[in-house]
Structure formats: structure tokens, C-alpha cells
């Protein structure tokens, strides 16, 4: 968003500055109408894009296991708070990513385990199921 949508970034910085208010406005989709007019990706679209990337890794992993039975595969994906947080909110916790706040600490992340078509991750000590192969 920062690099691909300079007009939208300008609109947000003029109204909200460059600090927390900027990100709060973006995450709550407070300027949704302008964002859609400019064709800019919002938190929901980011969550779906990350979900697609993870589903693709799952598809690749299935092919890998077909060719290499009995092996374990670890896929290490690197991202940022602004992609991980909306994904977890929408696709793990089933929440609207625009009206909840889920911080991710520096260097933080999640581990998703998949086996035989079942996926899960642990958040705050709680094991949560994920939907894959959809």
C-alpha cells in the first residue's frame, strides 16, 4: 500500500499524520470509499492475499510429499504486522479485520501445522483449527 498507492497514502497522511492515527485509519478502513475509488487494497484483501499465499504453500507441500514420502517439510514465510495481523483475525479467529486490534510483537509469528488435510496453529496456548483445501 505504501509503495503502490501514493495518492491514498497522501490522503491518509494529510488527515491523520504519519503516526498511529494513520495506521488506525487504515486498519479500521476509515477511508473505505476513497480507497475503493483508488483501487487500493484494504485489510480484508490483505487477509485474503495472505490466505492465498498460505494455501499455495499447502498445495506445493502436497506435491512435495507426493514426490518425497515420509519427509517433513518446513516452509518459512516472512511478512509484517500489517499482513499477518489481518490474516489471523479473518482466517484464524473468524473476526472482522477492520474492527479488532491484534498486535504482533517484533519478530513474532505463528506456526501452522498441516497433516493429512488438517491444519492448526497455537495462539495464546489455545489450539485453533484452520480451513485448508477450500
Amino acid at each position: 500500500m505504501l509503495e503502490g498507492a501514493p495518492e491514498f497514502v497522501r490522503l491518509l497522511t494529510e488527515k491523520y499524520g504519519t503516526g498511529q492515527d494513520f495506521w488506525a485509519a487504515y486498519e479500521s478502513d476509515g477511508e473505505k470509499e476513497a480507497r475503493l475509488q483508488m483501487g487500493v487494497e484494504g485489510p480484508n484483501e490483505i487477509a485474503d492475499r495472505v490466505n492465498y499465499a498460505l494455501q499455495l504453500q499447502n498445495q506445493v507441500a502436497q506435491e512435495y510429499h507426493r514426490a518425497n514420502p515420509g519427509q517433513r517439510l518446513i516452509v518459512w514465510m516472512v511478512g509484517h504486522y500489517d499482513s499477518l495481523s489481518p490474516f489471523i483475525k479473518k482466517h484464524v479467529l473468524g473476526l472482522d479485520p477492520t474492527n479488532t486490534y491484534l498486535p504482533v510483537e517484533y519478530g513474532g509469528g505463528i506456526t501452522i501445522k498441516t497433516k493429512n488435510g488438517h491444519a492448526s496453529c497455537t495462539l495464546g496456548g489455545q489450539v485453533l483449527d484452520l480451513t485448508i483445501d477450500q
Binding site: 485474503d48 492465498y52 498445495q59 506445493v60 506435491e63 483445501d133
Partner: protein
């Protein structure tokens, strides 16, 4: 020494050797069947193609204007778009970077008809291969229909006509470069 060849994943008409020969001007090209992961093969009609003139366009024309001029309003093209668990069948051709520029020219990437895509394909020996290809990253891109499986027609328009146009586009591109 660096391998001078790219793994170009070609789908639709470009999976056919004659078409590739017309696009890049080389008749002997190493290639093998493959499946691209995470993308579905779809068909666009001219009304589905962007009519926007973008900043990177070498001349002020939209992709739709260009294809309608080169063919007609009944033109159809194959394109890929992201889909969870999608699979597109095609061919991985071994081509050089300069030859891929000819593919980009043919697929009107600078005009915004398609985007450059780095993806993963499964080769004929079930190996995972990093490939370069083109298509749209817009999962909601306008389409006319989806294509499933490997048993689809390579050519959506008259073969002789599209081969002639591809040859002309390549010659014009190379002539522009030599100026």
C-alpha cells in the same frame, strides 16, 4: 557459469511449439509438460480485456484497442488468474532472457494486458520448479469461462492468422530495437 535459460511456463496457445517459434523466432526449443500451481486457466473475450491506457504503454493505446486492431471483436485469449488449489496445464520452455522479452511484447505486458509472475510448477518427474510466466494477479479479473484439465485446444483463433500476427509483432519489435 550462470544458466542462460529461464524456465518459462507457457499455457494456452504458447504451449504449442509452432506458436513459440513465431513469438521468439527459434524453431528448436527444449520443453516439457508441467502443471502450474495456484492458478486457473481462463478465457477472456475482448470485452474482458482492459481498455485503460497505462503509463508504461510504449504507444498511447489500450490492450483492448491493440487486439481488436490486430484481430477482431471476436478475439479470445487464454490467461491465468490466482485460485486456491488451481492448476494450469502447460509447457516449461527453456528460453533466454532476451527471448522472454519477446514473449512480454507479444502478451502486451507493458500495455497492462498481463503481469509478470514468478510461480511454482510441477515438472514431468514430479519435481517442483521455479518458473516465470505471465497472467493477472487479480483474482476477480473479468473472464468469459474457465478451462479445466489438460485436454484443451491450443488455439482459440485461426492458427494461421495468429502465427502470422506473432511473426509480424516480433519483426516489428526487433526493428524498433535496432533503431
Amino acid at each position: 557459469m550462470k544458466n542462460p535459460y529461464l524456465n518459462y511456463f507457457a499455457y494456452g496457445t504458447n504451449r504449442d511449439l509452432e506458436m513459440m517459434a513465431a513469438i521468439i523466432g527459434r524453431e528448436k526449443i527444449d520443453g516439457a509438460p508441467a502443471r502450474l500451481l495456484g492458478f486457473e486457466l481462463v478465457v477472456q473475450k475482448t470485452n474482458d480485456i482492459s481498455n485503460e491506457i497505462i503509463k508504461t504503454a510504449p504507444i498511447p493505446a489500450s490492450p483492448r484497442q491493440i487486439v481488436e486492431k490486430a484481430f477482431d471483436k471476436n478475439f479470445e485469449l487464454y490467461i491465468i488468474r490466482p485460485r486456491i488449489n488451481g492448476v494450469t496445464f502447460g509447457t516449461i520452455w527453456q528460453i533466454k532472457e532476451k527471448e522472454y522479452q519477446l514473449v512480454r511484447e507479444w502478451e502486451l505486458l507493458d500495455f497492462g494486458m498481463q503481469q509478470n509472475i514468478h510461480a511454482i510448477a510441477v515438472g514431468s518427474k514430479n519435481t517442483l520448479i521455479n518458473v516465470v510466466t505471465h497472467g493477472t494477479l487479480n483474482r476477480r479479473a473479468f473472464i468469459n469461462r474457465t478451462i479445466e484439465g489438460n485436454d484443451y485446444d491450443n488455439y482459440l483463433v485461426m492458427k494461421d492468422k495468429i502465427l502470422k500476427v506473432a511473426t509480424r509483432v516480433r519483426e516489428e519489435y526487433l526493428a524498433r530495437l535496432s533503431k
